[in-house]
């Protein structure tokens, strides 16, 4: 018991020392608040997406470039040209000039609506219109689809007018009772996925800290002194990692408070915080592996970018799977659980268990690898073995 207490004392003293130093660093505080400003930018992006949804008839997450494609029109009545999506730049022009423009590739399409369209509408006759497309322009499908959808809306409205005048008022029409369940996928992607990404962002912003504390020791040649101290490599790695985990938890708490003040609807904020905090442990574990293996900051920085791509993929893909299929296995990602938590969904103990087991297994494996790497003299003092050599040692249980 006495031994265990001393072990804990040693690793907590490293954690305390690292954490204090971090908070004292002016540069760290500057980066900390710059990251908060990044959060504000994200909130602006988030709100603009939501406004975009609210201003649209449909829900779209495609780019909204005004004037992406161009189309000449000859439509004196303005029947279609007035209602075209602004993604198409509409230019009124004569028939021959427009066809010449298409032939010369100056415009993507040309819409021709005959001049007698008003008269045809009055007489209840069919309206014929033609859209000419430049097949050599990749944007011709954009013009085709936009004209088509506008024509369909007008056709529906005209058809309703015609049928109202052709059918006696007492004719019965089949009534339609429409009900929908669930939230639309694009809306869920914006309101849930973007929010969950915002919440997990601090976890990926502090990788440099662990790199600094581990690779920094190697670069400053202070690692040797640290290793010579009466404490194990495990205590060093865990002590340093816990300091970063504490810093992350501080940032996560601040982000949660800011998001709540900004009006974001987050159910179960305490559980959300706990799960994000727990997720930071294996992420820092993986970062420690990269740091323990890297020779210098440059190598560690790029190694970290690659590792984080994999982590982001592992976190986000199950979230998207859960949204589209409510798959049970999607709970493997703690991000799925956090999203379900702040959405107010009821979560079974098994679902929690899957996520917690993932956190535990990845944490154990990653810290074990990081500690074992840090224990190897060839990794700390060189010549550093290649990754394949390390894998071979691991498989054959040779001094790993």
């Amino acid at each position: 018991m006495k031994f265990n207490l001393s072990v804990i004392m040693k690793f907590t003293s490293i954690t305390k020392w690292e954490f204090k130093n971090t908070l004292k660093s002016k540069k760290f505080m500057m980066i900390f608040f710059l990251q908060l400003s990044v959060l504000f930018l994200m909130i602006i992006i988030f709100n603009s997406f939501v406004t975009n949804i609210e201003s649209d008839n449909g829900i779209s997450i495609t780019p909204s470039l005004n004037g992406f494609a161009s189309m000449d029109v000859l439509d004196q009545s303005g029947l279609i040209s007035k209602s075209i999506n602004p993604i198409i730049n509409v230019v009124p022009l004569s028939y021959n000039s427009s066809l010449n423009n298409i032939a010369e590739g100056k415009t993507t399409g040309f819409l021709y609506v005959p001049g007698n369209v008003d008269q045809k509408i009055r007489l209840g006759q069919t309206i014929d219109m033609t859209v000419y497309l430049d097949s050599s322009d990749p944007k011709s499908s954009v013009v085709r689809d936009e004209v088509n959808s506008t024509a369909q809306i007008i056709s529906q409205s005209y058809s309703n007018t015609l049928s109202a005048s052709a059918v006696p008022q007492n004719t019965t029409t089949p009534t339609v009772n429409q009900e929908s369940t669930g939230e639309s996928l694009p809306l869920q992607i914006i309101t849930k996925v973007m929010l969950v990404i915002l919440l997990f962002l601090p976890l990926l912003l502090f990788g440099n800290m662990i790199i600094d504390t581990i690779v920094g020791e190697k670069e400053r040649k202070t690692g040797e002194i640290l290793i010579a101290m009466p404490m194990s490599q495990a205590q060093i790695i865990i002590g340093k990692s816990m300091a970063v985990v504490l810093t992350i938890s501080l940032q996560v708490a601040m982000w949660l408070i800011i998001l709540l003040i900004a009006g974001f609807h987050i159910d179960n904020p305490v559980l959300v915080f706990i799960f994000i905090f727990l997720t930071s442990i294996p992420i820092i574990g993986i970062t420690s592996v990269v740091a323990a293996y890297s020779k210098n900051f440059k190598e560690a920085g790029i190694g970290l970018s690659i590792a984080y791509m994999g982590i982001v993929g592992f976190l986000i893909v199950p979230v998207l799977i859960y949204l589209s299929r409510k798959s049970f296995i999607a709970n493997i990602s703690p991000m799925t659980i956090v999203m379900r938590l702040f959405s107010g969904e009821s979560i079974s103990l098994v679902d929690y268990g899957i996520s917690l087991a993932t956190i535990l297994i990845v944490s154990l494996i990653s810290y074990w690898i990081a500690i074992k790497l840090f224990e190897r003299d060839d990794i700390i003092f060189g010549p550093r073995p290649g990754i394949l050599r390390l894998v071979y040692d691991l498989i054959t249980f040779k001094k790993f």
């Binding site: 909204s64 005004n66 097949s135 499908s141 085709r144 052709a166 004719t171 339609v176 900051f297 440059k298």
Partner: protein
Amino acid sequence: MKLSALTKKEGQDILKNKIYLGVVFVQVFILLGTFGIALATSIASDPALLDQYGATSALKVGVPENIQGSQLESDLVKQNLNLTYYKNVSDAQEFLGTTLVAVVGFNSTNGQNLTVKTDTSNVFYPVVSSKINKAVNEYQTQKKLASSGLNNTEIQRIMNPVNLQVVNLNENHPANVALESSYFIEIMYGFIVPFILLLPFFLASNIVTDSIVGERERKTFEVLLMTPISSSMVMLGKTLPILLFSLIQSVAWIILLDLLRVPIYNPLLMFILLFFMGLGFIGIGILLSMFVDSTKEANSAITIILVFATFILFMPLFIKTPYFTPILNYIPTVIMVKIASTPNISFDIIISELPTILISIMIFGFTVRYFRRERAIRL
């Protein structure tokens, strides 16, 4: 001669660095991954493409058995929906949200009181919903018109009062695109192409900070500055290989996109724009290197700067307000979209490159001037 020696040495350093080369391969995966996702989502959200690729088996709609032989059933089948028959609507409803995307029912005795229940969270909801709406509208109008004694020709005239004819011109030179879908074209040219082509320049800012701050950390920068080579030559020697490395990557992605049938038009204009943007990115990287003390600081600072750069460059692609259009036309990514997607570029678009070119030259010019004055030594 001295410049070429420095350029050669810097170039070799980049090419020998396994990590930089690894990041180049990561970019290939990003390109292929985003292309694949764009392709899959385009097909999944387009009713015509789903029909074309025969993927309608996923569009499962539950209907009661009493619908068989009715006009409503034929209207639903006409929309290529995959009908699954149940004893009644409540039996079908149990599978809504799991195997079924929607359930459609009606009163079989008089063909009235239609019920449509849909699961909006399903990935195929937009397609299924649009197909069901078409079928139901057609059914309603047919029922209404038929009950008033109109003949079939009159019913068809009222149901389809607008006839849109599509005429394709220049068919002898068709655009060689992977998918004839507006969504695919918008997402690829409107976001993915500028994103992919700018990735190498994000990496360039990292390499330049590594190169300058790294030399300072290794205390070799002082030696370099003591050599009989001017500050401008040092700058050029550091900049040229990084710029070239990034431009080669961007050209490679243009070729790869062409192979994936997302043709990038006006490659020369694109190259010029990327060259100057690269100069701007590298200029910012060098400027930043002069203010930081270590690679660690440089990495943190460059990450934050790149986040802001991403915001400034990519946010305009998603802004819908026409009020901002005059400003948006001069944003480099917006110009990239126009250049990449327009076979015959107008003079206005070429002119709109000028502010980007000027700003990049100013950033780089300021960096050279500052570098010459400070000689980047902060001992």
